[in-house]
Subunit: 343 residues, 2 copies
DNA sequence: TTCTCTACTGTGAACGCTCACAGACGCAGT
DNA sequence: ACTGCGTCTGTGAGCGTTCACAGTAGAGAA
């Protein structure tokens, strides 16, 4: 009584089979499948049990062919992927997007556009309508791909604030400026006054905004901005170490550092330790991201938590809305100060 | 003279448009698209330039509808995803598979089956023929999903050796036994004789094989197996720490440990340090995986490199072969000893 | 010439679905 | 009775491809 059916895929049932089984027409089955309006309760019941009995699953290709939708979306990465894949936050984002989409029964296509060739290939693929929309993760905040897709009319949501001010592309981002403000305020509340900063890349809005928040709070507190206490990095561990070394050389009695990423903060930790500074006794150290690096470091890093789980949900929500015809939207989500051992 | 076309996706050209442009029939265009046999050079040239001119991209839905293939494959994760996504090796694998598939112009669908519901939904999706095959990553080495898909006749390649001996499912794995042998031989060559081992889970082939390699080499070297020197872990950091503590308690003069994952080795490092042992002076420590954890640890870990870049390529190769009608295959790839500071 | 073979090309039909339309039915208002 | 309306249902057409088949042209053999 087993139906092992080992090997050789059997032809799946079609909407026709279901219709015959339920004693109705294709049209009625289709109506039940898509919302179920204008169909009598008895017919709906018959169709549903026929679906269960036959194990019917809609053929998305046939559906897409006529609707023009593909009911799938692309998760596009346009940058050096080694770096990104190492970033725990990126992984949270990818996982979150996949799950958020899954709850809408929409598959996610992973697209990596490292080289120029791949970029071209994927742009073609996307503009040909093989996905309904794109979730874009790009470290370049003024990515040409974003503009190209937008011009082609492809619904698009970017992770992080894009650089171009005028460009009408949707995005979801954490509130970098406010996060930085919280951190610097926290350092001030500890009695620190000579607070250094290692910024992110200053050609990205994230880098700029975090620095702006730092400056604002100090100015509000009546502390003059000391340019010797400002160095810029690239979010990578090495640049954090170099940055902290530079700061210490310039201002040996610095009593706190705000480092614009946890990875850089790890590097800064190494530099501080080598220079004989104790953290947090001599120097308070604040990071940004609340990545795995923050808890793995010793001492564990006080940092600013970016709500990547919410970011992914919002990206999906905004994208689906845009696919549904709504206008592009910008969403900025609040950050949260997470206190640990480094301050 | 710009054709900005902002917003509103234009209807893409069809094979019909190309045919008209080239002055040939649909059939000829289709033949050019699929291999180009039985088509005259002049016609092929005309079609190709028409394709370039119109910017034609094949509609995969229409193609799939008739061929029955979907020309896409699924990357299925059946286990606690938080853990896996943290694993750098997993990320290499995902990236490698995506790229290997991209070179065949095949999109990868990311599928996460954490809950029972998702598992059912995805099984339906897969068996309905929405993907041509599945790359499966599962920590359970005897995953019921694997068996279910195999029975449904879905081409499938698993990452890592599956548990069931008889089951005819394709897999690609590193040579765990041989890697373990290399490591233990290395420890012996350093003059170590009281070598402990923290194994992986012993209900998985990887865990079993690494322990087997350890035992083999010791036996070959004429050293008796001491059960007090064997504890088992679960590949996680915490279990490595606990394992090393247990070993030290049982055999205080242990002079080396082979730990079956780098993450566990990090934990073991902490335990050894707390117990006042210097690494590598007092105790040589060998890991497994060559993950990021290995280089981040201080001292950097000597470990066994699993060739995840090659594994991903092989998984794709074997899967495509199987889709093409070939029989399931098992591929075992050689590992490599990477010497760093911990031995 | 005629026949055969090879190389090439065009033409329905079909894949499984949705959509627009037309029709049927019951019920209320005129 | 007729008309109108809202609810429900079936039918044909068509989405863009590939595939099988039929057909043409030219070359070479008989």
């Amino acid at each position: 009584m087993t139906m092992s059916n080992t090997g050789g895929r059997r032809k799946p049932p079609t909407i026709h089979d279901v219709a015959r089984e339920a004693g109705v027409s294709r049209g009625t089955v289709s109506r039940v499948l898509n919302g179920g309006h204008y169909v009598s309760p008895s017919a709906a019941e018959a169709v549903n049990s026929a679906i269960r009995k036959t194990g019917y699953v809609v053929n998305r290709h046939a559906r897409s062919l006529i609707t023009g939708r593909s009911d799938s979306i692309g998760f596009l990465l346009t940058e050096p992927q080694e770096k990104l894949f190492e970033d725990p936050n990126f992984n949270v984002l990818l996982r979150g997007c996949t799950q958020a989409l899954a709850s809408h029964d929409i598959p996610l296509l992973l697209m990596l556009a490292g080289t120029e060739d791949e970029r071209r290939r994927l742009t073609r693929y996307i503009t040909a309508g093989h996905v309904d929309g794109v979730l874009l993760v790009s470290s370049h905040s003024a990515d040409p791909v974003a503009e190209e897709l937008r011009e082609a009319g492809v619904p698009l949501v970017q992770c992080g604030k894009p650089m171009g001010r005028g460009s009408k592309v949707s995005y979801v981002a954490a509130d970098d400026r406010d996060g930085a403000r919280d951190m610097v305020r926290h350092l001030l509340s500890l009695g620190r006054r000579r607070i250094g900063v290692v910024t992110g890349p200053l050609d990205s809005p994230g880098g700029v905004d975090r620095l702006a928040g730092y400056k604002e709070v100090l100015t509000e507190a009546g502390i003059e901005i000391d340019e010797r206490l400002i160095v810029s990095g690239d979010y990578g561990r090495a640049s954090g170490q170099a940055g902290a070394e530079q700061l210490l050389a310039r201002v040996p009695d610095m009593d706190a550092v705000f480092v614009a990423s946890d990875l850089m903060a790890q590097g800064a930790l190494t530099a501080l330790r080598r220079a004989g500074r104790r953290v947090p006794e001599d120097v308070s150290l604040g990071g940004f991201d609340d990545s795995a690096a923050a808890t793995e470091a010793t001492p564990a890093l006080t940092t600013i938590r970016q709500p990547y789980d919410r970011i992914s949900n919002e990206m999906v929500r905004v994208l689906l809305a845009q696919i549904g015809g709504e206008d592009p939207a910008a969403v900025i989500l609040p950050t949260e100060l997470v206190r640990r051992e480094s301050t």
